[in-house]
C-alpha cells in the first residue's frame, strides 16, 4: 500500500468543523481528511494513522478545545519525530498573544487563520502548505500536482530530478 498523507482537522464546534472540512474537500481525493473534536481524540487519530505507516501532512487546529488546548497539541506534535514535519495551522477566533508566540516558537506554526475565514484563504493556505510538505516528503509528487501548486511541483521536478527520462 502506498503511504497516505492525511489532513487532520481539530475543532470542537461541530458546525465549524463541518465548514472547514467542506471548504477543503477538494483535497480529499489525494489527502484523506480526519476530524477530531478534542485534543484527546486527535491524539488517538494520530496514533492510528502513524500505526498504518501513513503520514499527517497538515493539521488545522482550533485553539479553544475541551481538555488540552490546540497549542499544546501542536507543541506535542512538534516534539514527536513522526509529526514534527506536519504543517501546523491554528484556525481560531482567539488565542492569546503568549499562546500564539508559543505556537510559533515551539510548534513551528506555519499559519494563523483568524475566524471567520474566507474559503479562498483557507484553500490557498492548505494548498501551499501541502505543496511544501509533498515537495519535502514525497519521492514522486506528480500525482498530487493537480490539486496542489503545479508550478512549484514542476519546478521541484526540474531542479530536484525526482523524475528522469527512461
Amino acid at each position: 500500500m502506498e503511504t497516505k498523507i492525511y489532513i487532520l482537522v481539530v475543532e470542537d464546534e461541530p458546525d465549524v468543523l463541518d465548514s472547514i472540512v467542506r471548504d477543503i474537500t477538494v483535497f480529499e481525493k489525494f489527502f484523506p481528511i480526519e476530524m477530531a473534536d478534542s485534543a484527546e481524540e486527535a491524539r488517538e487519530l494520530i496514533d492510528s494513522i502513524l500505526e498504518k505507516d501513513d503520514q499527517i501532512g497538515l493539521i488545522l487546529c482550533d485553539h479553544v478545545l475541551p481538555g488540552d488546548n490546540g497549542v499544546e497539541l501542536l507543541v506535542e506534535m512538534q516534539n514527536r519525530a513522526e509529526t514534527e514535519d506536519t504543517q501546523k495551522v491554528l484556525i481560531t477566533g482567539q488565542a492569546g498573544l503568549q499562546e500564539t508566540v508559543r505556537a510559533v516558537n515551539e510548534a513551528d506554526l506555519k499559519h494563523y487563520i483568524a475566524k471567520p475565514w474566507q474559503k479562498d484563504e483557507l484553500t490557498k493556505i492548505t494548498k501551499e502548505l501541502l505543496t511544501d510538505y509533498v515537495i519535502d516528503h514525497v519521492e514522486a509528487p506528480l500525482k498530487y500536482m493537480q490539486v496542489l501548486d503545479g508550478e512549484r511541483i514542476a519546478e521541484h521536478i526540474r531542479t530536484g530530478r525526482g523524475i528522469t527520462d527512461r
Binding site: E13, P14, D15, V16, L17, D18, S19, V21, R22, D23, T25, E28, K29, P32, I33, E34, M35, A36, D37, E41, V64, P66, G67, D68, N69, G93, Q94, G96, A114, K115, P116, W117, K119
Partner: protein, 484 residues
C-alpha cells in the same frame, strides 16, 4: 502746623525726647508727669477710653491686640523711646485700640488729656516739639502700615498660589483615580469584548460558509424543478431531514462513515460524511433506488445539505442574537438610569454567557433561587461578578469547577462564588482587596490588578460587603452581601 526742624530731625526722635524732657525739667512739671513703670505693668487696656497720652522716654512697650472671639492677646508692635502710646486714640478720641504693656522697665511722660492742651497754650516750644513728634510718630505708623500692607499682600498672594496648587493637585489626583478606574473598566471590557468576538466569530464563520454552500446548492435546486417530479417528495424529505439534522460527534461520525462505506462502496468520503447524518430510512431509500455514487448521489445529498445549511444559518443567527443581547444587557447600554431595581441573577447569567470562552470547559454548578429585587447599579455589579469569575478562571487554568449560589434573609442578600483552584495564599488573603495588589505580577491576564479593589469599592457603594476565604475542600470562596 509749621515745621521748624529739618527732615533728618524727624528720624532722630531721641533728641526731641531729650528736648521735651529738658523742657519739662526746666518748667518743673517733671515730678507731676514723669512716671517710671516696671516690666509687665499695664499702661492701658484695649477698649478703655483714653484719658492720658503717654510718651515713652526710656525702655520699651509692647502693644497687644485681642484676637477676635477669643481672650488671647497677641503682640502687634514694640514701641521704643520717642514713641507715643495711644496716639491714634488720642488724635481721634476713640477708645484705645490696643493694650500697652511695659516690655522693660521704662520711663514715660503721662500727661492727662486736658493738661496737654493747657501745656500747649503755656508753652509754645513744647507744642512745637510735640507737633513734630506726633508727626514723626504718625509717619512712622503710616510707614509701618504700608510695609505691613505690602507684606500682607505678598502673604496673601503666596497663600492663594498655594491654595491653587493644592486644588490642582487634588483635581489631578481625582482625575488619576478616575482614569485608573476607567482603565480597569476598559481592561475588563476589553477582555469581554475579545471573548465576545470569539464567541461571535464561530457562528459568524459558520454562517458565512453556509451561505456560500447554499449558493452552490441553490443551483441544483433549480435543476430539481425541471427533473423527475416523482422524486420530489423524496427530495423534500431529504431537505426536511437536513433542516433537523444534528451533528454527530467525530468518533460517531467516523464509525457511521465506516459502516456506510460497506453499502456505498464507491461514494467519496465527503458523500459518506453527509450520508452518516441522513436518517436511516432515507439512506435505505437511496440504497433501494440504487443511488450509490457520483453526481447522482450528490444530487440527492445536495437537498439534505440545503436543509442543513438553512439550519446552520438559523441557529448561528440565533446564537449571535443571544450573545449580542447578553452584551447589551450586561453593559446596560439600553437604559439611562444607573441605579434601578434589578434581579442580580440576570447579571450573573449575562456574565457567564459573556465569559463563556474562558469557562467553556468548567463544570458549572448554579444554585440561584429567586431572591428579592434590589436597588443597584447593574453594570457595576456585573463588573464585580466578572472580576470574581475571571479571577477564578485565571486561578484554575483549563479545567475546574465553578459553583455560584445566592440566597437571602430579612435584611441581606448574598452571593457565593467558589472555584476549585489552588485557593488564595493565607499570607495575602487580607490584602487582596487593596488597590494595586495583584498576585498576577508580570503576567497580567486580566485587568490591571485592580479588579478586586474596585469590586470592593462597588460593593461598598451598595452598602454591602465582599470577602474572600479558602474552602476546607480547596479553592477560593468569594462572598458578596448586599442589603435589601
Amino acid at each position: 502746623m509749621k515745621f521748624k526742624l529739618g527732615k533728618q530731625w524727624i528720624d532722630d526722635r531721641n533728641r526731641v525726647v531729650q528736648l521735651i524732657r529738658r523742657l519739662f525739667d526746666d518748667s518743673g512739671h517733671s515730678e507731676r508727669f514723669l512716671k517710671s513703670v516696671a516690666e509687665g505693668e499695664v499702661l492701658l487696656k484695649e477698649g478703655d477710653p483714653l484719658e492720658d497720652i503717654f510718651l515713652l522716654l526710656e525702655g520699651s512697650v509692647e502693644l497687644y491686640k485681642k484676637k477676635p472671639d477669643t481672650d488671647t492677646d497677641f503682640p502687634i508692635a514694640r514701641l521704643e523711646a520717642g514713641s507715643f502710646i495711644g496716639i491714634i486714640a488720642f488724635t481721634t478720641g476713640e477708645p484705645s485700640l490696643t493694650t500697652a504693656v511695659a516690655a522693660a522697665p521704662s520711663v514715660l511722660l503721662k500727661i492727662p488729656d486736658e493738661e496737654v492742651r493747657s501745656l500747649f497754650k503755656k508753652n509754645k516750644q513744647f507744642r512745637n516739639y510735640m507737633d513734630e513728634l506726633i508727626l514723626a510718630n504718625l509717619l512712622d505708623r503710616f510707614r509701618n502700615t504700608i510695609i505691613l500692607q505690602i507684606k500682607l499682600n505678598s502673604a496673601n498672594n503666596k497663600l492663594r498660589e498655594e491654595r491653587n496648587e493644592l486644588q490642582k493637585a487634588y483635581r489631578e489626583l481625582k482625575e488619576a483615580q478616575d482614569r485608573l478606574i476607567y482603565q480597569e473598566k476598559m481592561a475588563t471590557l476589553g477582555q469581554l469584548v475579545a471573548g465576545f468576538a470569539h464567541e461571535v466569530n464561530n457562528p459568524t464563520a459558520s454562517l458565512l460558509r453556509s451561505t456560500e454552500t447554499l449558493e452552490e446548492r441553490i443551483s441544483s435546486l433549480m435543476l430539481l424543478l425541471e427533473k423527475e417530479p416523482d422524486d420530489l417528495d423524496f427530495f423534500i424529505s431529504l431537505y426536511n431531514a437536513g433542516r433537523k439534522a444534528g451533528y454527530p460527534d467525530t468518533a460517531t461520525l467516523r464509525e457511521l462513515t465506516a459502516q456506510l462505506k460497506e453499502s456505498f462502496t464507491e461514494a467519496t468520503p465527503a458523500q459518506l460524511r453527509l450520508l452518516a447524518q441522513v436518517p436511516e430510512s432515507l439512506t435505505a431509500r437511496l440504497l433501494e433506488n440504487k443511488v450509490l455514487k457520483g453526481e447522482e448521489l450528490d444530487f440527492y445529498l445536495n437537498q439534505f445539505e440545503l436543509g442543513k445549511m438553512f439550519q446552520n444559518i438559523e441557529s448561528s443567527g440565533n446564537r449571535i442574537a443571544g450573545l449580542v443581547k447578553s452584551l447589551k444587557s450586561y453593559s446596560r447600554t439600553d437604559t439611562e438610569r444607573e441605579w434601578e431595581k434589578i434581579d442580580i441573577r440576570e447579571g450573573i447569567h449575562d456574565t457567564l454567557q459573556l465569559t463563556s470562552n474562558r469557562i467553556k470547559y468548567y463544570d458549572i454548578d448554579l444554585d440561584l433561587p429567586e431572591v428579592p429585587m434590589i436597588r443597584a447599579n447593574a453594570a457595576a455589579l456585573n463588573q464585580v461578578w466578572t472580576n470574581i469569575i475571571l479571577n477564578a478562571a485565571d486561578a484554575m487554568g483549563k479545567n475546574g469547577s465553578l459553583s455560584i449560589q445566592c440566597n437571602n434573609n430579612q435584611e441581606t442578600l448574598w452571593v457565593e462564588i467558589r472555584d476549585s483552584g489552588p485557593g488564595i495564599d493565607e499570607e495575602i488573603i487580607e490584602r487582596i482587596f487593596d488597590s494595586n495588589f495583584s498576585t498576577k505580577k508580570s503576567e497580567v491576564k486580566f485587568g490591571l490588578g485592580l479588579g478586586l479593589s474596585i469590586s470592593r469599592d462597588i460593593i461598598h457603594q451598595h452598602g454591602g460587603t465582599i470577602s474572600a476565604k479558602n474552602s476546607a475542600k480547596g479553592g477560593a470562596i468569594f462572598t458578596v452581601t448586599l442589603p435589601l
